[in-house]
Subunit: 250 residues, 4 copies
Amino acid sequence: MRVGLFGFGKTGKAVATVLLQSEEADLCWVIRKTTNLQHRSVPEFLGIKDDNQGIIFSKDECTSAELFEKRPVDVIIDFSSADAVLAYGEEAAKRGICIVTAISTYPEETITYLKKLSERTKILWSPNITIGINFLMLAAKILKTIAPYTDIELIEEHFKNKKEISGTAIRISQTLCLSDTDIKSVRAGGIIGRHEIIFGFPHQTVRLIHESISREAFGNGALFAAQNLMDRKNGFYCMEELLIPYFNLK
Amino acid sequence: MRVGLFGFGKTGKAVATVLLQSEEADLCWVIRKTTNLQHRSVPEFLGIKDDNQGIIFSKDECTSAELFEKRPVDVIIDFSSADAVLAYGEEAAKRGICIVTAISTYPEETITYLKKLSERTKILWSPNITIGINFLMLAAKILKTIAPYTDIELIEEHFKNKKEISGTAIRISQTLCLSDTDIKSVRAGGIIGRHEIIFGFPHQTVRLIHESISREAFGNGALFAAQNLMDRKNGFYCMEELLIPYFNLK
Amino acid sequence: MRVGLFGFGKTGKAVATVLLQSEEADLCWVIRKTTNLQHRSVPEFLGIKDDNQGIIFSKDECTSAELFEKRPVDVIIDFSSADAVLAYGEEAAKRGICIVTAISTYPEETITYLKKLSERTKILWSPNITIGINFLMLAAKILKTIAPYTDIELIEEHFKNKKEISGTAIRISQTLCLSDTDIKSVRAGGIIGRHEIIFGFPHQTVRLIHESISREAFGNGALFAAQNLMDRKNGFYCMEELLIPYFNLK
Amino acid sequence: MRVGLFGFGKTGKAVATVLLQSEEADLCWVIRKTTNLQHRSVPEFLGIKDDNQGIIFSKDECTSAELFEKRPVDVIIDFSSADAVLAYGEEAAKRGICIVTAISTYPEETITYLKKLSERTKILWSPNITIGINFLMLAAKILKTIAPYTDIELIEEHFKNKKEISGTAIRISQTLCLSDTDIKSVRAGGIIGRHEIIFGFPHQTVRLIHESISREAFGNGALFAAQNLMDRKNGFYCMEELLIPYFNLK
């Protein structure tokens, strides 16, 4: 699977690291906003020994059409910004290149644009693309159906300076039809990220917990998404949809 | 749903309490080995206000045929001993009475007997009949399929005097194809029961935890089993099979 | 150590159970408000095999003076109600009988009365008399002094129907000079009681957790208090003061 | 407080980062084994904006005497290797420079040498120099004295490839007189480090937990050690000894 990566900030670098270390993916190039790392080798820059030939390009040095011609990929992974897809989307769709995007929020028009593009290719959009969180959300949804009488409570813990309520916690709370005001937010020191969903039964308690260790988790999630997207029909997917088949036990 | 209960030890009493407090079940009678509570009212004995008419009988005061004639039930819940079903099984199957049994272990012949009986009625056997544990087992199985590269570890905590490894932990470990020697057993003070399945991803950790509060949890599990068994075809089921339909997301 | 117990509700019974099972205490009598268990044997009523001669008396069948004469004790443990001590306090102080009281709240006048009494005997008052919680509070206080720059957060979990914020959590929060509004309260199912103090350091997290299993924990706390009070001078103590000597490491 | 740092591997760099960000310390220089970063500025290399003038030197470019003359410090923090102190110790002691060393193990002769040196200066040696772990050890020791009848269990969790039992867990287990074989080791994915001490009371459970987030925690510990060492008499200390005064409550 040949991969092109948009975005090379902190998260982008972590994602690139995972892609380079994976045997299933071949990172062909990275697109960056600025020119200051232009034409450097990705594995060399990240200090990873690999015979991978991935190169860093700056956003404006060539058109998407030229890029996809000269350096063809099967999947684009996008950790850059909300407007990036507007530039490369059309050319990607034309060539049937899958798109995996982890952008936090898109304007309404861009979502419409993505849905339109997805008639011609496979697109996945997930603001929280880790496997663990998406698994937890589905598992919690199921447990709520099994035991609708349980009390569900949600604790999210993050570092001191995270001002707003965790977006992931809000997603979980919406998925489970909880009230947003019910989320208990703990802000303490350097906690990277911890989400705990508590199911209070009358005589037992179930706790589903996700702990983030590092940003590389997004890389594993994006890779999983790309692999599972390949066999799907054209369409606009979310992470949960890719996980659902794994839940269909016989 | 009219219910008859075999067994009135510590767990049996806890199960009876849950049945009496439930609006879906009507506890018609309890069968006890000894005669010392014979003919007392169950709600009165347990101190529960209820217009329920459930009576305590001793095992040998009448035949199963007589009992099922005079005091018909839809479901038998069995928390007594491995040989009890040998006495009542035939009469129950003949009348199509569902059987929910939570006996820890049955000799091989009894299992064969139960399977034979299940051609004529619905039988569920689950040594650990709590909803939480069985949910956890299925959820863990799914996560293992999604992320086969994770390291799975299992911690079980119980009160000081529990000598042997938790049977539930052994079940979980078998379900996940772990090695039995991998179970970490903590024995400390009065911990009632806690099971934690840890999924170690490279950059995130998922923890699935079940905490027992009291034996009444078995009552809720048995009730859930009875309710979900009613609509099934004749056959021999385990708790997981009753939960599987809840996992089939669309 | 001869003990007399005031209060025989749910908690009183649990405390009596612990006292009967302890080798250090000899439960001489229990005082109850109502007359309906009058003159029954405590171990027999609680189903505990013991050659203990403890008897249940009703509050009004004799004066404190008569009781302390005929059935002398070294310590009174009080789990009854806020006005009980007004009846027995004077006679206890006169005889130098220690008083361990776990009443939740006393009116200001009663506290003054207790302090006055404590000139002639040793009195301990602790609304939460478990060893674990009081240890946690002191340990947390120390850690705050060691690392004043940490963020301290407090989670308390209890059963669904507990309406108000945990009194213990409020005590912890006051001890650590946190704001009461900072306590995160989780209400779910049948959780008996769980308190977690989180210390967020920039690069590490310390969690101090207390989990209640059953009311008997109050019995162990009261016993500990009684034993540690014996060697003290007359005075009015709280649980923390009895624990402090254990913290003075060399 | 002027600080010199020996060692600039992964941990050394993390420690340098903490020192640079602290207002109480002034990082004057770093000594490295190899010459490849020779004479670079520490803040510039680590990408930290600071008017700090700290410079990287290689081990062999000058003698300790010359270094301490030209660039005097109050404290040496040593995260390098077991033989480093043999080269700089004599000159440091002569000048009364405090030594804080976090080397994992020293040969017996080196320990003797350190003790001898400590007649002329203050030396602290702690293989695990985080505040959290050392606090936990002392708190656990106290709780064991308060409640000697509790069952103590120890769980340590680390990343998959950590082969041996955690040295910190072994220290904790020795401090609490547990058996080394009682440590439960969990090895899963990328867990950085988690230690949990469980105190099982008959009717309550206390859990003391330490979670590592990143190596920088060692820097905070070293800084704390340096600050607390300054006011002490000459002597050979361990981290616990520096923490003990904080436990002496009145």
